[in-house]
Point group: C2
Chain length 740, copies 2
């Protein structure tokens, strides 16, 4: 026996499998079909595992170990427990399944094939790790594939998405179900490996699932005691069961999870009737059946030709038969498409009765199922004449819009990472999303129909859970999150997953720029914008006043396949009713104001809370130096990039000898595309009051004016434009000292 | 009583304070001085809390609540338990203290003043939230301030740094202590609020502290049951004590932590003799003494003029006396500087004896204390002629250097987020950093002298803990981390803290670019480089071959105030012994090869694993189209920016009509500074084998040649250069669909 395997056996406490009420003679009580014999299960497992070995052997690589170890779990889920319809994978009330240990994707692909997902052919299975462009078997599951709920791979993200999927069901059920009419009652199943229980984002999300008592969530731990570095003990010796109990989960052990299908079925069935989320700690052996079973060697590698042959022989299979699925194994799964159709038909019947009894609710529900918003959402966006004219923080302007949207449209789930008093997303008459049980336990208000979500101080989980909310059924929810912009760096890996999956979300990012002030350099979000401006399929929008805020919301709502970050100021901002426009905002950048008289000497680009500096500098330049400046507002570089070349040139007006200067309290990175120089923050900030922070770093009309004047004069003197590679950081840069 | 306060009282189990052996008559056994009377403590607490209230009232803002609630904890720590020397805050063997709830900084500043840290005057205390540029009382504690160990504020970072500080002590102690000679034996104390126990990075780090049995770490939970959103219950109802026990902590409750100094002292003292890390769950009342005590209203706000007056009266203080510290309160802390000097003198005496007994070890230790590396580290960097000439993955070239450095120099602590088989940082004869107890418990090898660290699948904690390792005493350690580059997005908030604190680290980031292949878009790190290139004080270096890898390590070791990310390929890369140079790498960008014959038509910028495409395109352009191309290698934009204008122009050679094209499989963002066009990835990747992924996205010499040829012809045809705002994304961009 391999040393790691010995350790594994030692670490398993010899407790009996927990017995559940209603479980008799191997037939489970939770509505699952009768169990077939263990002999039959073993046959299916052998064929399954040999097929996985063949798939990885094809190109001599891939993840074989976990799919082999998890085979019994898969049979329990796909054959007995999950309610789904392989002929219509997107049937609304289906159970959701998330493979949070996404590298085990072959497991999912092969089960999808066996249960009859039509696109998942043997030919497709063989495309894993191939160079085929039409493959639907990528190295990690992707949301675009029929039967895959969310893209997984980056560890911890899947389980957080699963929490979001379970929340989505809870919220819909609480909102639309009526006594005797359960139009939403699906479960969420999520497999995890060691990693998802080590990654912070997973731990944050699990803590919330426990708090919210999401009893429609079952987390299935493929506890094979092995990670890439060897035995999982090498970096983790905590008592996971105790930890999960402390976190509010119902914890169930299964000790022979790689062979005992009945035990797994019982445990899964019991999860359906738990009053808490369930954590199944299922002991398995990675790469079971191979001689390297139970070791890290079978984690991310093929077994080798000889070993695959040996394994098949030991399974009673022909070593010369490859990709072998005999008819009896297909037959084993033959009932599933029909059962799926029955689930769907049952749901439709429920829906029909519901429609009769509750026509208005049913109409709204139908809209939600269709992923559509009420057409009149535009009424929630204030008209230009409704904006205040006095100085207003853009977080306040945004609060007005969030309030109107969230009050009136159930599509919006609005959350905060413990910054309700700061982010202005709490809306009138909000109801908190909470377990109603907590009303008696600790006096909290709220229930599952609530759409205001207290995520606690868990920015990463907030955004990762939002991915699940948005993925439940596209358009049914538009999750909104809120925190300080700098903390979107904690959440970056989750926002990236949203962008990759084309999930619509609105992230309210307040306290942007150095204007946040006293909280100091830790809270002044230098460089975070550079990330989101570069990240594909993200709209990072920095509006400069209430009108641009309106435009930012319109863009965010219209971008149905895209997460949007609306970046907002803590401090008051001047309003520019004569210059700002929502239409301009939707184009990403636009002429804010031309120079007096038409001709100009310099173009100033202003962004967000720094637009005021551009406008004041423009005045000073004229008054004190006779320099004619035009101003461009640039709330969103990505939207601007989508405009025509002609439009872009009409905004930027590139002319030799007439430089363009961007003014933004972020690093200059990115402005080189549009400007010759910038007044930027190529260093970290400082703890001072807002205005003084700006002044300290040269963001004051007087200092900017002096620098722009010098630049204009230099360019005039030297003739033509500024050379490539000679971009001017007018505020300078941090120098890195290399010791010699 | 405020409702939140009632809840708080209800939630406290009525257990007695745990009694510790050797604790009698209020005098603790752990080497602390005798306790003064509770009456005296109450007097000091009253004065302290009133002073905090005055400080926040000054500017009508700031965080008053936690400092007031934590006053008794502070007295216990600063007066009785911590071993430190206020006259020499950096004395090497001092106990380390981390305020992970950094917003409570006034608490730390005021205690620093009271115990005699000379720079922390009353005048300085009053500068909190002022516009004074010379303030050493910023909104969150900063490492530059005498007496502050690490910068905190972004929640969860501090506690992870504390784990690093405790590891550093353990490693030094195991390496240098000898029986009867304890040259390192300090404790690490860390206060946390609810947030640090919710944030994923904190949870990851705590899990490791438990695993490693860091009994020199004591985490002090200021359990005031309140967060910004109100009662902490609103987002967290887990059983934190059970969770911490499951994580491997010794858990101790203190129930009257805002008044009972003796109880806190006992608990803290006991932590010194625990065989596990200690978690003190100390119940406090936020803003105690004020009428809003126990509510979120006192978290981040001043109390108001009238309320401050009322509070002072209730404390028996004169409401008209401001910033009042009477002599008896100073007297209470008067013994501390002397005790600090005694600690230091004791350590020096220990060191003197040690030097006699172990002169060689003592010499090495002295070098570590001085923060210096052996001079001969350069021998660990392979010479140019030692590189392989065949295609080699840069992760392998880097492995050679890491191996030599880590084998020979104790300064390097090398870690991995469970990617030992992939990242090539495991060095010959490595010893794992582990608790020696785990050898018997689960057969793990390693002990605390080990310098190879299995962080598990916890990228964020890996980097955040590394901040503590680097901050223990600058230069004593250079932490190295390793994971796939895409997962540095998980760790971004921690790397940012390293950059902000000027902490030297080397992050080995393998599997960069889309060349990672089959793992697919989740693992192909689009946009991560844009973040790190924009982040101040980070060196992001992408070497193209073994020689540039050597240069990258030299830069990383020479950058003693800077974290460096060395970005490496999974796949084999061609070697360019005729072109590549470490000297060029240190300049960030350099001429790789000029065009044949001297004059040129186009400049191609190649980076890292895409340099091969630039070189192959260069050949094809000449052969097939007679276009003469020069090639520039550009491993590090930040190092290049530090060069003179003349040098930069000599590399880029900007000429009208001779375009520059950057070739990199990342978004084009940033290349606009140096190029007119780029072959980039302005979209997410795809799961295909490495070469096919490149080809799919147009990274193949033939397709690049065609695009560059078109561009050169267009520029020739139209005359001069490419206009501002007209940068050419030769591979196109992802379009975001806005619904109308």
């Amino acid at each position: 026996m391999a040393p790691a395997l010995e350790l594994l056996e030692k670490s398993i406490e010899p407790l009996p499998t927990k017995a559940f009420p209603g479980t008799q003679n191997g037939v489970s009580a939770g509505g699952s079909p009768s169990l077939e014999s263990q002999e039959k299960h073993q046959r299916v497992m052998n064929v399954f595992r040999a097929f996985i070995a063949d798939l990885c052997q094809q190109y001599g690589e891939g993840h074989a170990g976990s799919p082999m170890g998890m085979t019994a779990i898969g049979i329990a889920l796909y054959k007995y427990v999950m309610k789904y319809s392989p002929k219509n994978c997107n049937y609304f009330n289906r159970d959701r399944f998330v493979l949070s240990n996404g590298h085990a994707c072959l497991w999912q692909y092969l089960f999808m094939h066996l249960v009859g997902v039509q696109s998942m052919t043997v030919d497709q299975l063989k495309s894993y790790h191939s160079s085929r462009l039409d493959s639907i078997c990528p190295g990690h599951p992707e949301i675009e594939i029929d039967g895959v709920e969310v893209t997984t791979g980056p560890l911890g993200q899947g389980v957080a998405s699963a929490v979001g999927l379970a929340m989505a069901s809870k919220n819909l059920a609480a909102t639309y179900n009526r006594p005797g009419h359960e139009v939403v009652n699906n479960m969420t199943w999520c497999t995890v490996g060691d990693a998802c229980l080590q990654e912070g984002v997973g731990l944050e999300a699990l803590s919330l699932a426990g708090h919210w008592k999401l009893n429609n969530l079952c987390v299935i731990f493929d506890n094979n005691s092995v990670t890439c570095d060897g035995t999982a003990d090498v970096a983790n010796t905590e008592d996971i069961n105790m930890k999960m109990r402390a976190t509010g989960f119902n914890v169930v052990d299964v000790y022979n999870g790689d062979t005992d299908v009945a035990a797994v079925v019982n445990a899964l069935d019991a999860a359906r009737s738990s009053d808490m989320p369930t954590f199944l700690n299922i002991r398995t052996v990675i790469g079971i059946g191979s001689t390297q079973a139970g070791t890290a060697d079978v984690h991310g590698a093929a077994l080798g030709v000889d070993e695959v042959a040996r394994l098949k022989r030991s399974f009673g299979l022909d070593p010369n038969e490859f990709f072998y699925i005999p008819q009896d194994v297909y037959d084993f799964f033959r009932d599933i498409p029909g059962r799926g159709e029955a689930h769907e038909a049952g749901w439709k019947a429920t829906l029909a009765k519901y429609r009769e009894e509750y026509p208005e609710l049913a109409a709204e529900f139908a809209l939600r199922v269709a992923g559509e918003m009420p057409n009149d959402w535009t009424k929630c966006i204030p008209r230009k004449e409704e904006h205040p004219t006095a100085s207003t923080a853009s977080r306040k302007s945004a609060g007005v819009v969030t309030n109107a949207l969230a009050q009136n449209i159930n599509t919006f789930l609005v959350g905060t990472a413990d910054l309700t008093p700061s982010c202005n997303v709490a809306y009138k008459n909000k109801v908190d999303f909470q377990s109603p049980e907590l009303q008696t336990v600790c006096g909290l208000s709220g229930d599952y129909s609530g759409r205001y979500i207290h995520y606690g101080i868990r920015e990463h989980a907030m955004c990762a859970i939002s991915n699940g909310l948005a993925a439940f059924n596209k358009g049914t929810f538009i999750p909104m999150t809120s925190t300080y912009f700098v903390f979107h760096l904690y959440a970056a890996a989750a926002v990236r997953m949203a962008a990759l999956q084309n999930l619509q979300q609105i992230h309210i990012a307040t306290h942007d720029s150095i204007g946040v002030g006293e909280n100091g350099p830790t809270h002044q979000p230098i460089a975070v914008a550079a990330l989101y401006r570069a990240m594909p399929n993200v709209l990072y929008i920095r509006p400069c006043d209430a009108e641009e805020v309106a435009g930012a919301y319109i863009a965010a709502i219209q971008a149905t396949e895209t997460p949007t970050i609306i970046s907002l100021s803590r401090q008051g901002l001047p309003q520019y009713p004569q210059c700002s426009s929502r239409e301009g905002t939707l184009k990403g950048g636009y002429v804010f104001t031309e120079a007096e008289g038409g001709d100009f000497d310099v173009t100033l680009i202003g962004v967000g809370s720094e637009m005021g500096f551009a406008m004041q500098t423009r005045e000073l330049l004229l008054k004190e130096h006779g320099i004619r400046a035009r101003a461009v507002s640039f709330p969103c570089t990505r939207l601007f990039e989508q405009q025509s070349r002609e439009y872009k040139q009409s905004v930027l007006k590139p002319r030799a000898g007439k430089p363009t200067v961007a003014i933004e309290a972020y690093p200059s990175n990115g402005w080189e595309r549009y400007a010759d120089a910038s007044v930027s923050m190529n260093f970290f900030g400082k703890s001072l009051p807002s205005k003084e922070t700006y002044e300290y770093f040269g963001f004051a009309p007087e200092s900017i004016t002096a620098k722009v004047k010098d630049l204009v004069e230099e360019v005039r003197r030297d003739g033509i434009g500024i050379l490539r590679g000679d971009f001017r950081d007018l505020n300078g840069s941090l120098q890195i000292h290399l010791e010699h």
